[in-house]
């Protein structure tokens, strides 16, 4: 029983770490640009498939770096061509546009790489379980968690200590003033969008190693990321971090006792939090409400 519980809590944490990576990217874009990026799952899929395609040439480690960067570049192009014209308009329009984009990406990946799922092999070093007793803790899973921790730390360092990051945070609070102080807000938004998409691409590469690749895999990960943001509080990145881990662990623990409810528990959690604390765990009153 203890082992089963441990197994599921570990599972929950790992899945939660995933949600965090997805949700942080979504949250970044939402906070600065007021855009709900429905195509975020699509970018995750793009990242995964790019990694799958280039792994034979550059190896796993090369793909781990190149695929998210390539995804970010695609994200930049999309932002420049499709999303930039919508800034300042009703958020409805960017919502609908990214919604259509998600369709297009899903169908496009099916067209290019086929509807069949693709298995992805990870380096042998990472595929081994660490011990027989804790068979579920493979090197790859630890590696995934490490990657999430590293990228989240880097993101928070970027936002807290670099000039660019400070501008992004200031822009989240009051973009108009930031713009009036002579900062190129368009570049700021593009950069911010690219960072968000980079995180989506990275999640895609990591997810591919664990779950394999499928054109629809992004859609399934999108909703938990939404919930992570709502639970943590819209407008707060640390909130998103906590929210993602919380719903991951909650669904992991629930899987022990009632497997059928393991997804429902996320929604229950969200409803309870909205009842008790409408702005979310770390959300600030008045922000984005």
């Amino acid at each position: 029983m203890t082992q089963l519980l441990l197994f599921n809590v570990t599972n929950g944490l790992i899945i939660g770490a995933f949600y965090v990576l997805m949700a942080l990217g979504l949250s970044l874009i939402l906070n600065l640009s007021n855009v709900i990026n429905f195509a975020h799952g699509g970018f995750l899929v793009i990242g995964g498939y790019i990694a799958y395609t280039i792994t034979p040439y550059v190896g796993f480690w090369g793909a781990l770096l190149i695929a998210p960067l390539a995804t970010a570049v695609i994200g930049l192009i999309v932002e420049r061509l499709l999303i930039r014209p919508l800034y300042g308009r009703d958020p409805l329009y960017s919502l609908l546009l990214t919604f259509g984009l998600a369709f297009l990406i899903e169908d496009g990946t099916r067209f290019i790489w086929g509807a069949q799922g693709k298995p992805v092999t990870v380096p042998a070093v990472l595929a081994q379980p660490l011990s027989y007793e804790f068979f579920f803790i493979t090197g790859y899973r630890l590696f995934m968690v490490a990657m999430v921790i590293i990228s989240v730390t880097l993101l928070f360092v970027l936002l807290r200590y670099t000039r660019l990051g400070i501008r992004i945070r200031a822009g989240t609070l009051d973009l108009e003033t930031v713009s009036a102080m002579g900062i190129n807000v368009r570049m700021l938004r593009s950069f911010n969008f690219a960072v968000g998409i980079f995180l989506a691409g990275l999640s895609g590469v990591l997810a591919a190693g664990q779950l394999g690749l499928e054109p629809t895999m992004g859609t399934g990960l999108l909703m938990p990321s939404f919930i992570a943001i709502i639970v943590g509080g819209v407008g707060s990145l640390p909130g998103t971090l906590i929210g993602g881990l919380l719903i991951g662990v909650a669904s992991g623990v629930t899987a022990v006792f009632a497997p059928a409810a393991s997804e429902a528990i996320m929604y229950v959690l969200m409803a309870v939090i909205l009842l008790l604390r409408p702005r979310g765990l770390l959300g600030e009153e008045g922000m984005m409400t």
């Binding site: 939402l30 007021n34 855009v35 709900i36 429905f38 499709l82 014209p85 919508l86 308009r89 009703d90 958020p91 409805l92 329009y93 960017s94 919502l95 609908l96 546009l97 919604f99 259509g100 984009l101 998600a102 369709f103 297009l104 990406i105 899903e106 169908d107 496009g108 067209f111 909703m223 939404f226 919930i227 943001i229 709502i230 819209v234 059928a260 997804e263 429902a264 929604y267 969200m270 409803a271 909205l274 009842l275 409408p278 984005m288 409400t289």
Partner: protein, 326 residues
């Protein structure tokens, strides 16, 4: 008011009346003009039902300015409500419609109370996430809902007026007219609400929420009522949809279905009353055609979304309206 203005008003009213007459004439005569143009009556029935759903979404989106992106949930609940009523309660078509409508409306009232204080993108996200709850329930609770396969084993019943019966099951034209009457009723009520003082406060909230609040309008309560009403209409449309297909599909509750409804409203023109009808007609016919000629119809729909947002954000009717004004 000067004589000139009055005659302008008279002119506008006549213009409006002519448009209304044209719309209803087209709808009433649809079973006669659609088949020669390559359509079929059942397609017309689907357009009507989905148009009613799009208009219910627009009731909230276009006239209260609240961005709900999870309305398919109440549509799907209406469908399941109607299906379950026919299957387990009594074989009566009117009863099933009422059950579907109530199920959608009650769910909307409960959830609406949780979320009315949110605005903008936050409101959209919460409505999407809560909408998924119902999708999830319909998908998982297979003993009642049929799970992934959907709810089957029921069919719409003949209308029994005591003295005579109308067979809406086998006769497609009779069913079309039955749906048209339901549509007319719902749309009539919707139009009546929008013209009432309550409807005016909805528009006031859309135009300037802060000013509406200063005028003493209880904004949260008004939005909650508008949300609930819109979910009632949505449930009604969903119930009709279950009768159309004799089947309720869990995918009818999914947020991608909500996206389609919002798209219909936007494509037709979301600041106009009749826009969503036009949007639904274009959307349904296009989807019907595309899915018959290409497996990549999803891409076409995706491109359609992007093009409409970038180039026709005011929708077809908004576009026409601007042209005639200028």
């Amino acid at each position: 008011m000067s004589a000139r203005e009055r005659s302008d008003h008279g002119h506008q009213d006549r213009h409006k009346l002519a448009v209304l007459l044209a719309i209803w004439a087209l709808l009433i005569l649809a079973p006669y003009w659609m088949p020669p143009l390559g359509g079929y009556t059942a397609l017309g029935t689907r357009v009507l039902v989905l148009a009613l759903a799009a208009m219910s979404v627009n009731f909230l989106l276009g006239f209260t300015g609240v961005l709900s992106f999870g309305h398919a949930a109440y549509f799907g609940l209406g469908a399941y409500g109607a299906g379950l009523a026919l299957k387990f309660l009594a074989p009566s078509t009117p009863l099933s419609l009422i059950c579907g409508m109530l199920l959608g409306g009650i769910a909307g009232a409960v959830l609406g109370a949780l979320i009315v204080r949110r605005r903008g993108v936050y409101f959209a996200m919460v409505t999407i996430a809560f909408g998924q709850v119902f999708y999830y329930i319909a998908f998982q609770w297979s003993s009642v809902t049929g799970g992934d396969d959907g709810l089957r084993g029921f069919s719409r019943q003949p209308l029994d007026f005591g003295a005579f019966k109308i067979d809406i099951l086998a006769n497609t034209n009779a069913f079309y007219y039955f749906v048209l009457v339901c549509f007319a009723l719902a749309v009539g009520v919707m139009g009546f609400i929008l013209r009432s003082p309550f409807g005016r406060t909805m528009i006031a909230i859309r135009e300037n929420e802060r000013r509406a609040r200063f005028l003493g309008i209880a904004v949260e309560r008004q939005i909650w009522i508008a949300f609930t009403l819109s979910c009632l209409f949505m449930g009604f449309a969903g119930a009709l949809y279950a009768l159309v297909n004799n089947f309720a599909d869990p995918r009818g509750l999914h947020y991608s279905q909500s996206g389609d409804f919002v798209m219909m409203a936007v494509m037709g023109g979301m600041r106009t009353f009749w826009g969503p009808l036009l949007g639904a007609a274009v959307f349904v016919v296009l989807q019907d055609y595309l899915s018959s000629v290409t497996v990549n119809w999803m891409s076409f729909v995706g491109v359609l979304f992007i093009l409409v947002v970038l180039f026709f954000p005011r929708g077809l009717l908004g576009f026409v309206g601007r042209k005639t004004q200028a």
